[in-house]
Amino acid sequence: MQIALSIKDLTKQFGDFTAVKDLTFDVEDGKFFSILGPSGCGKTTLLRMIAGFYQPTAGSIEIQGKDMLGMEPNKRPVNLVFQHLALFPMMNVFENIAFGLKRKGEKGPGIEKKVNDMLERVGLPDSGPKKINQLSGGQKQRIAIARCLVLEPTVLLLDEPLGALDAKLREHMKVELKKLQVKVGTTFVYITHDQSEAMVMSDYVAVMNKGSFEQLDTPQNLYSNPSSSFVAQFVGENNKFNVALQKDESGKFFAKTKDGGLYTLSNSFKLQNSESFDMFVRPEAIIINPANPKPEFNVINADVKAILFDGGNSRLLVTPEKTDEEIIVSLPQNRQFDYIKARDSIKIGWDPEAAVCFNKTGEQIYDDEI
């Protein structure tokens, strides 16, 4: 596979602040590559360096083997779809898409053909004469992408372009964007803080935190085998337990919560400071009232605090007996659990294989976390 974008030891500093730290990665040609991270993690800085708006402090950016260092944005074979799209309001749709072609020095008939082909491709034929303010949010989106794709860039950069859309349209555009990428085959580098956007669309996702990548993997691996506490928290929903680790005579590991709960673990650890571990269990890995649990299952009694009904994504909020910890449990909507009411006592259990443990990072992704 050919490498479209190759980044080596890339660093960017603003004064004393290091926004991007020693990044090295390659993006294969034709892939949908996402960079996922909370705001302020340096992902926009990284994207702007690739586009050419920032000069890196150190390191190199190569696009199809060509060094981009010192090259102006207008000379690079990459195009950027801006967060707020930045469509030109004084031009109509046709002129917006033709803008880049005209800058390349292409002539009238050629431009017309390319623009109309592109409009066809993004599913908006005949909207060439429309004004930008006559378009809906989703249409603007597609025009902004069309305006870049018509220049046939090696890499298309997208800076959270779905952020401004309402939830329903965003769901729809995710699928649209993925389909479009497959159709045109251009390499997409997409940055977002929304893990669902990254997971649904991408071939590869890099989880970024404080200027460096925590993990670069396929969405499936990212979800099932997170490599750090940060990734486990940031990608998908997860139950987090602050635990201390113990080892019994037979070499088995246990996680002990501060309330005295003791849970079996499947992997082995090098124990040093055993107090500061985070244990994660996915909501859908937790089974409600397990019928014939395997002997190694962690089964505990818990009180149902609330039923969080959300269609297919419904969950139970439960508290293990004699603790004030909260655990989220997936609640399948197959009528099997319709009998569960708030304040009921139930049993929940999970396979030790489903739990992962990491050194505590002290990282807080959301303000209200403990």
């Binding site: 950027l80 803008f99 800058r103 220049l151």
Partner: protein, 287 residues
Amino acid sequence: MMTKSRTRKIRWSFIIFFIPVALWLLLLIVLPHIELLRISLTSTSTDGFTLDNYKAFFLEPIYWLTFVRTAMYSIIVTAIVLIISLPVAFYITKISKIKTQGLLMVLILVPFWVSEMIRVYGWMILLRESGVINSIMLKLGIFNQPIEMLYNDITMIMGLVYTSMLFMIVPIIGVLGSLDDSLIEAAHDLGAKKLAIWKEIIIPYCMPGIMSGSIIVFMLVLGSYLTPKLMGGKNALWFTEQIYNQIIVYFNWEQGSAFGFLLLLLSSLIIWVALKLTKQSFSEVVR
């Protein structure tokens, strides 16, 4: 009943605010112009309605040539002001830091705290034969003898540009402030060079501000009196001086009124043509 009294209330408040504006327009602008029009259509020698005063303007080359000269210079001044104001406004809104922005605006405003008269005299102190620049140049040995820099068209244009700059910069800053930086970046990203970005993005975006600024500057320059009189060449008149001469010097109110009315009509015509040429609508510009 309820709604009726409410609408009546709104109407009253509207009338209270509207009356001063209406009176101001009527007493100071509409009535004098009607009177101007009436006087311009009469003659000292003959009774009744006559177009002689208007005919005189077109038949006497000295009159219409003065007007053409005035209009041409006003257009040149407007163009120069525009060329200087665009980068200045761009620097203030997009490049300078927020703290310096205020300072720069004050620097532009400060000269307008003194009257036009004082400003022009300031220029004269600098430029006259025994003025500051001449004495410095003589001391440095660059000039052998003092040079008269006043009373020529170039100095006059410089003075007019200086006195009207603010009225172009302020409206352009107004529209530039709302220009999203990412539009400029997007154009750059799509392959545009600096010149193309100015031509395709910044200037079209600023067009309403540019046009309203240009109208203000053009009208201001066309109707200015002090600067051309004090700084301009002695052998060429500004059209307002022509009106002044007719009314005050020759006491020919009829001719002066006709000139005044022609100034209004012709300048409106020029602005209309300019708006048509740039495809701007008046309502868009005055907004």
